[in-house]
Symmetry: C2
Subunit: 441 residues, 2 copies
């Protein structure tokens, strides 16, 4: 029934245009007013706690009814919330209230001439769309960040979290309309999977899309939308153990970076070891990794240096694979330059670390390696908005333009130039009757 599809696509577009219009009003509120909306939402989350938990129970029971496969166990764990979990949602919203107003500043002011003043000011992107899976705390988190920055937001959660998300989105609608009825449309909750493709096509109406899910899904969004994407398709993180590394520290850091949470995008996938350190270092490292249950793969030189261990010979695919699992691949390199070139060729520009006591090698690595986060003598697992102290995180971006690495509120902002004049025309300057003063104030 194409007519009906078109009608629903039209009505979705109208909804998003309404979100866009409401966002314009939201952006004109003062920081205090936006904070009052956030506080109202935090209070409502607490007041409707039992209702949220009950809705969440319906979602969890439906998921269990579908079947208890291992993947749905992980899903269930992410989906399930509790009275304490709901309390935590409210705490997180209040944390965002406490952050400085990101819109209350002027980035630069220039008097182009008397009575002709240019201001560069931060402003919201407009409308952001977040497409996410089962996690039940995404709606309060995205809502607080979007409203803090004056953006409208379109949410599409996993169908397994439908009842939970409905209550939580309703709370944002209430908090917004409590301030002004017209603001309620600044939030738009979608439930149909088919609507995702429609959203990805609205490059005039939606300013940023934040996909949260598998790297296949993130890559799909990168490839199928003209809307700018904030996300990362993969995290292929390297640790380079320099010839001058403290080898005890190195084992410690590598074990942490691989074992502490192997599914994380900032966990280490490849270890590059300087040939001078390799003979002393590799057997001890491999022993410790294997004891921790890690499957070790290695280049030919690694295999030759560890004859007593079972190491899978690395294939070409291994160097660009993101395992997200208890697996790691090890390569012996001739030095810093080879390590940097290898990372430039295979890395995902996410997080890369050097372990060394040689400060000049460390500086060169941090300067030359092209990644959002470059670390010296620390675990790659520190690459995270909370650990970085950003106060809030929208996501991690592997893009070099706009916001990069762990992204806080600034990822939802852009800027504009406001020029205030009194009838000035360019011909006067082009023809020499007037001259620019360009006073930076």
């Amino acid at each position: 029934m194409p007519a009906r599809t078109e009608a629903s696509s039209q009505s979705l577009k109208q909804q998003v245009i309404a979100t866009r219009r409401a966002a314009r009003s939201l952006a004109r509120l003062s920081g205090d007013e936006r904070n009052r909306i956030l506080l109202a939402a935090a209070n409502r989350i607490e007041a409707r706690r039992d209702e949220i938990v009950a809705a969440n129970r319906i979602d969890c029971e439906s998921l269990i009814a579908v079947g208890a496969q291992p993947s749905s166990t992980a899903l269930l764990k992410r989906l399930k919330t509790s009275p304490a979990g709901v309390k935590e949602m409210a705490v997180r919203v209040r944390d965002v209230v406490a952050l400085d107003d990101p819109l209350a500043c002027t980035l630069a002011t220039t008097e182009l001439d008397d009575g002709l003043t240019l201001q560069k000011v931060p402003c919201p992107l407009g409308v952001i769309a977040v497409i996410f899976e089962s996690r039940s705390d995404v709606v309060p988190q995205v809502g607080s960040l979007a409203i803090k920055t004056g953006n409208g937001f379109v949410l599409k959660g996993g169908s397994e979290a439908k009842h939970t998300n409905r209550v939580l989105a309703d709370i944002w609608r209430e908090a917004l309309s409590g301030h002004n009825a017209a603001l309620a449309q600044a939030v738009c909750l979608l439930e149909e999977r088919a609507e995702v493709m429609q959203v990805l096509e609205m490059h005039r109406e939606i300013d940023l899309v934040v996909p949260r899910g598998s790297s296949e899904f993130v890559n799909f969004v990168f490839q199928h939308s003209r809307i700018p994407v904030l996300g990362h398709g993969s995290g292929i993180c390297h640790i380079y153990v320099d010839g001058a590394a403290d080898l005890n520290m190195a084992r410690n850091v590598i074990i942490d970076a691989k074992v502490q949470y192997p599914a994380a995008c900032n966990s280490v996938e490849k270890v590059l070891v300087h040939r001078d350190a390799a003979p002393r270092f590799l057997p001890a490292l491999v022993r410790e990794l294997q004891a921790a249950g890690v499957e070790v793969r290695g280049c030919q030189r690694t295999l030759a240096l560890c004859p007593d261990f079972e190491i899978v010979p690395a294939s070409e695919e291994d160097w660009s694979a993101e395992y997200s699992d208890l697996k790691i691949t090890v390569k012996v390199v001739d030095g810093l330059q080879e390590a940097i070139d290898h990372i430039d060729h295979y890395g995902s520009r996410h997080t890369e670390a050097i372990l060394t006591e040689d400060l000049s090698a460390a500086e060169q690595f941090l300067d030359e390696v092209d990644a959002a986060s470059v670390f010296h003598n620390a675990s790659t697992r520190f690459a995270d908005g909370y650990r970085f102290g950003l106060g809030a995180e929208i996501g991690i971006s592997n893009s070099k333009l706009h916001a990069r690495g762990p992204v806080g509120l600034e990822g939802l902002l852009t800027y504009k130039y406001k020029l205030k004049g009194s009838g000035q025309i360019v011909a006067d300057y082009a023809e020499g009757r007037k001259k620019f003063k360009h006073r930076h104030v």
Copy 2:
């Protein structure tokens, strides 16, 4: 001969990888060292002035030999330089020397814990590619901006400027290798049209592409490359004449914005007039526009208010057309809200202006209109890096992410997070043995 094509594509990729490697060394130079390279280039431009002029004469003569069509007359005008023009190139390079070093700052420092310090620092994008037409001053301009920011650069000029570009690129190579032979590869000059498509496919090797040319070409690049693009496909700029506008000022500003340089992307294409001002304003405006040779198109209300003038009825296409010519389309609107909605629907997010004495209407327009540049009581033609006092301009961007509007040096920069530790692991923090301090210093 597919084998040969593949070989040449391979060698181009190797060239660009070499540019990438040289750029890493360039980025590690101090600001003084990068300035010395720029000064060496400025001196060489002056020393090789006659050679540049002679090469340019060959290019101009070839163009004339091909045929003197009107389009090639415009081309010739852009292509041709003179001893004074070459002198000006050197002056512009020295202007860039005088700008502050954009890499010499730290954007933020946070002590995550004792001995674990996070710095957010600016860094070059890596390699930028600029694809341009005939203008002979692009090579010195791009070179100076790229080297100032520590970026490698790939240049592809129009074939009609081949000899001129060769000499100018050679000057950059000399200036770079005068500092260090390995740096010469930071510049890469391409001459074959087929290489453009190869460049657009190198999204791992090239970090930003700046297309300069027709809007068809810019749109082609936007659609055919996964590399981020700095550019603007079109400039559909509006001026909204509010009910409370000073109508003499309004006529003056509109004439300037349309007539002073109609081919510019910041010239006005559409005028929206508040219905209260329209009866007094429109006949006088139309008379003045037509006297200046402008073809006027209009909505039905415009036609009804100007019965004594020949006005072409506007079609739906007119509202989204970029004329870049002495043409303009006029619409009567019911008020500010309709003007903002119209601009949101048809505008190109480039430059939009309101003319009014009502400060509250002006504020609402500047806040709510979604464009890189929003002006009150000034001509749209002011939207330009030079007029804005940016010191240098890479181009104008209609994108909202990264750099927006007229873009200076900051458009060629990104940032990275450098974390310097002493062996810290995440498990200590996750398991409560240590606590983050997050001291912002």
